[in-house]
Symmetry: C2
Subunit: 328 residues, 2 copies
């Protein structure tokens, strides 16, 4: 018989959740789930293991673990719930009229850099909206996101909103050569402003009445972004400002426009966003448009969703209760 009281009881990036904490997590996720169920987002459960070909790296985040089944097929621990739900929408609901609304509460796995002490198993809560709605689906999703964060018990949340096409659009206006454009996009993605400054033509290059560097890294409260930023040749900026204008005022007040925000997953295109709280230093979740996942199965489909890291949201609620990070 093995000794079960080992000093390294669980694999790196994982942990046990004991009853006191679990009671709070269960209470929080019930409130979140009940809210979205009442809004018509039906809960789904999908297999923990997905075929690697479905969940391939071209579709979702890179899988943390890979294994082979008895038929020799590659399997992965799912790295998100967006791709499995897109799979369901494309197969089981192939002929259904939109909009389709789904929700989930499920563990996902991600690769982490060594020695970062980051979680590899992440309990995610989220929703997906697939297919046409009359209003901008991003308005529905961001409004719901705000209500879900309130239901979770967060008071000081912020949403940072951008558009996957904005950086490219601004760089196009500068008419740089292709190599410089690519290098600028890389520097933006890495948050490397020193390199960006070196790459941009001169201090005098102007975009939207700002220095090129200011425009490319713009980050300010939604209400303070002038409508004049939307111009000919900037459809991404126009679409972002339209969205901001249509948000309910309480959500708009918590929204920061971030021209440099770039999608974490390759499948995101169009509107992208991240969720923050001053009580915690990392994003609590993210989301965006992922129409491209339906290019073959349901061409022309509009799809958008968000996913929250449940344990980080819980940490942020606890941090707020201890008075951490409050700016007011």
């Amino acid at each position: 018989m093995k000794d079960l009281s080992s000093s390294r009881p669980t694999p790196s990036g994982t942990r046990d959740v004991l009853p006191d904490e679990m009671t709070e997590l269960r209470q929080m996720t019930r409130a979140m789930l009940d809210l979205v169920l009442a809004e018509g987002y039906g809960e789904v459960r999908t297999p923990t293991l997905e075929y690697e070909r479905t969940s391939a790296s071209t579709l979702g985040p890179k899988p943390a673990y890979r294994l082979i089944d008895e038929h020799g097929d590659g399997l992965v621990l799912r790295s998100d719930m967006t791709v499995p739900i897109a799979r369901i929408a494309s197969s089981r609901f192939a002929d259904a009229e939109g909009p389709l609304r789904f929700s989930y509460l499920a563990p996902t796995w991600r690769r982490v850099k060594a020695h970062r002490a980051e979680a590899t198993e992440v309990l995610q809560f989220g929703v997906e909206l697939v297919g046409g709605t009359e209003e901008d689906p991003a308005v529905e999703i961001l409004s719901l996101l705000g209500r879900v964060l309130e239901a979770a018990g967060l008071k000081d949340w912020r949403i940072s909103v951008g558009h996957a096409g904005i950086s490219q659009e601004l760089l196009n206006l500068l008419s740089l050569d292709e190599a410089t454009t690519t290098a600028c996009l890389g520097a933006l993605q890495a948050g490397d402003l020193v390199t960006l400054r070196e790459l941009l033509p001169s201090q005098s290059a102007q975009l939207l009445g700002l220095s090129a560097q200011e425009a490319l890294t713009l980050r300010q409260p939604a209400a303070s972004v002038p409508e004049s930023y939307a111009a000919d040749g900037t459809p991404a900026i126009s679409s972002l400002l339209d969205l901001i204008g249509n948000l309910p005022s309480d959500v708009q007040a918590r929204t920061i426009v971030d021209f440099s925000l770039r999608p974490e997953m390759d499948y995101y295109g169009g509107i992208v966003f991240e969720v923050y709280d001053p009580a915690i230093g990392r994003a609590l979740g993210s989301g965006g448009r992922y129409d491209s996942l339906f290019d073959i199965s349901r061409p022309g489909t509009v799809a958008i969703g968000f996913g929250l890291d449940v344990e980080r949201v819980h940490e942020a609620v606890a941090g707020e209760e201890r008075g951490e990070g409050l700016t007011t």
Copy 2:
């Protein structure tokens, strides 16, 4: 971009659960969980991947999938929640006075034989009771099991109760040689009564006033088993009959004594049980004593629990509602 509307969308032994079914499953598991939480069984969550050395085949059921982490350690998808909870009781609660009460709702993975169309990913709900209680802990666990099945919506459930030591005890009374005893135990485990009949000394061999074969395969309503079956040299039978006598009458009325019931997992010793419903042909769950898991970390600990296959319980509720398998 891959086509997501594949004809074989999920790995064998797995499936997607869509909103209508998920609503019923969520409602059912909430009722089950709320009941055990109110009885002091605190919910825990453990990592999906466990070290192979913790979850080794000597401890729990054989893992369905195995993989290697970045340090070269073997990991497995957990095959049950009993071993992880024993690990927690042995580490995080090493110095706590008993009794410890835990509950869980979590997927587990099991090996299935090819072409059986059985689920490899099994959503389990269960409880574990670790450490001394004043009354027989099996009485607490079986009473709670009955109430959990009622909370799930089952009306016609049955519990089959045995003891891991009974077959050996009865064979000892027959004074067979070791090879024949081992062969008889194997035949009993395989349910192979033809071989058992051939192996037993003669039709006249008597145990407890029954033919040896009748005694070894005894299966009858708890209330109809005479106390005289408990005799000198049959402590396992005595302990089983004591338990039956102490069960609340409503649970006792649903209990079948099964002398041939043998534990599915190696870690079970002492009282073992299985849950049935006439609406469905397979066991809905099982449980028993597993004191041996604490031999090193907490010697002398009494531990017992049960685990239910949530989707089979749900199938049985649906079957009962359609009037299937009802005997009354």
